[in-house]
């Protein structure tokens, strides 16, 4: 058969596709769990510190930060193979996406997925390195790992801005990525594409909303709204 490409690239391409989609899926699911963990700050510093300590004492946080960093880099490397290398090609795609905007939005959303992916790569790497230092250095000495007072200080010292940008980019990138992954492989096909898109939107706004409330608490703008759960002592 006169093939579109010589043999043996097929298996490699399948593996790349599975790895880029699979790592994306795991990272998106992790982000939901991560949001719940960080969300413990809504109960106040005590709840946050207790959870952080548990995750570190039982050695959950340390391997997690390493595994997530590896998945993060693998995902970035493999997903980036789909981005056109030439500027002129990227411009062509952007023009096409803008033209199609009236009829459909997924093309322009793909372009925004790439842009947010780039931002997540930079800001997410910074955050992951910071977290790796926090949870790994106590292994070699009497240091304290993740704790609320440090997080509050960091956010209030100015990290609220990169974290706000990271939050928007991560949630957008992950929700549209999950939607695209489902459509690509025909998962939940019975629901129909428009329902999947609606679910994606709901998830996006839900986590964005939750994320911003968490960030406002960390920035000291509002008190922990769920502090009453732990007896009101934030």
């Amino acid at each position: 058969m006169n093939l579109l490409k010589p043999a043996n690239t097929a298996t490699r391409q399948l593996v790349y596709e599975l790895l880029s989609g699979g790592t994306g899926l795991v990272l998106a699911l992790f982000m939901w769990g991560h949001m719940v963990f960080v969300g413990s700050i809504l109960t106040g510093s005590r709840g946050f510190d207790w959870l952080a300590e548990m995750l570190e004492v039982y050695f959950i946080a340390q391997p997690t930060v390493i595994v997530i960093f590896v998945l993060f880099l693998v995902h970035a490397a493999l997903a980036a193979r789909k981005i056109p290398a030439q500027l002129v090609e990227r411009r062509k795609m952007i023009e096409l996406g803008k033209g199609l905007k009236g009829a459909h939005e997924e093309s322009i959303l793909w372009i925004w997925q790439v842009r947010t992916g780039m931002i997540v790569l930079v800001l997410g790497s910074f955050h992951l390195v910071l977290m790796a230092i926090d949870v790994l250095t106590p292994l070699w000495g009497e240091r304290i790992g993740i704790e609320a007072v440090t997080s509050l200080e960091r956010v209030q010292a100015g990290l609220w801005l990169p974290y706000a940008i990271l939050l928007i980019c991560v949630e957008f990138h992950a929700s549209i990525g999950l939607y695209r992954l489902a459509v690509k492989w025909g998962a939940f096909a019975k629901l129909g594409r428009s329902t999947l898109h609606t679910i994606e939107r709901v998830i996006l706004w839900l986590f964005l909303g939750l994320g911003f409330v968490i960030l406002l608490v960390l920035a000291g703008v509002i008190p922990p709204p769920l502090a009453f759960l732990l007896g009101g002592n934030a």
Partner: protein, 242 residues
């Protein structure tokens, strides 16, 4: 009922690659809108009354021949199926990208589709000699319907023009190409085995070249279930590898 009384402005891409003096530019035409006016009618009106040199393609006027695909305000569409009442007062027309430009709005989709069909060998590969007297092999109704759905493609090129990958990678099978591949991969009369199909499908120029922009599905004038077709190809590649 079409809106009437509007004066429509058409900004049309003009360029004749055969003429060395021709430079790509936009030319503006104005015409009166009439009830039930299609783009086909509007362009004929322009050619008859304003500029006889304007090049564009039409044949059937009923979305069957697939020759009148063009970019209408940035979106690929069939001229015969597009009503001016659905368009704003100013309409920008470009030829479909990706395909060889014949002139103005006319493109040669045939070259692209022939090359795609040859590359993917888009025909039934049968080992048995055809016996006109023998009863046909039975086929499941659902499968026959799926094959028929893929066969409804009129090769207008709208999906290819809307595809980000096809616009930057000439080797990519493209939406219509993947649809053709799926059509024959599904067909039990085709004797190519799964391993042979795997090499065609699971490829950076096959289904894994697709980045999931989904425009092809949304602009297809025949409303082919292209996204289902790609999902089928992805799963077929995975099941073959497993």
């Amino acid at each position: 009922m079409s809106e009437t009384g509007r004066r429509l402005t058409f900004e049309v891409f003009r360029y004749n690659p055969q003429d060395p003096d021709s430079k790509p530019h936009m030319q503006t035409f104005e015409i009166e809108e009439v009830p039930y006016m299609s783009l086909f009618m509007a362009l004929n009106e322009i050619r008859e009354t304003l500029d006889p040199s304007l090049q564009f393609d039409f044949a059937c006027r009923s979305a069957i021949c697939g020759s009148c695909g063009m970019m209408v305000n940035g979106q690929p569409a069939l001229g015969c199926r597009t009503q001016t009442s659905d368009l704003p007062d100013v309409v920008r027309l470009h030829p479909l990208p990706v395909f060889k430009l014949v002139g103005d709005l006319s493109v040669d989709t045939g070259i692209w589709f022939r090359e795609m069909a040859e590359k993917s060998e888009a025909w039934i590969h049968a080992e048995k000699a055809f016996d006109p007297q023998a009863q046909e092999d039975r086929m499941d109704d659902d499968l026959a319907q799926k094959i028929y759905d893929s066969d409804r493609c009129i090769e207008c090129g709208c999906c290819v023009a809307s595809c980000g990958v096809a616009n930057v990678n000439a080797e990519f099978a493209g939406p219509a190409g993947l649809n053709r591949i799926a059509r024959f991969a599904m067909d039990p009369r085709d004797t190519r085995d799964d391993d042979e199909w795997f090499e065609v499908i699971s490829n950076e120029n096959g289904v894994f070249g697709c980045i999931g922009m989904m425009a092809c599905h949304d602009v297809c004038p025949k409303e082919l279930p292209l996204l289902e077709v790609y999902a089928y190809l992805r799963r077929k590649a995975l099941s073959t590898a497993l």
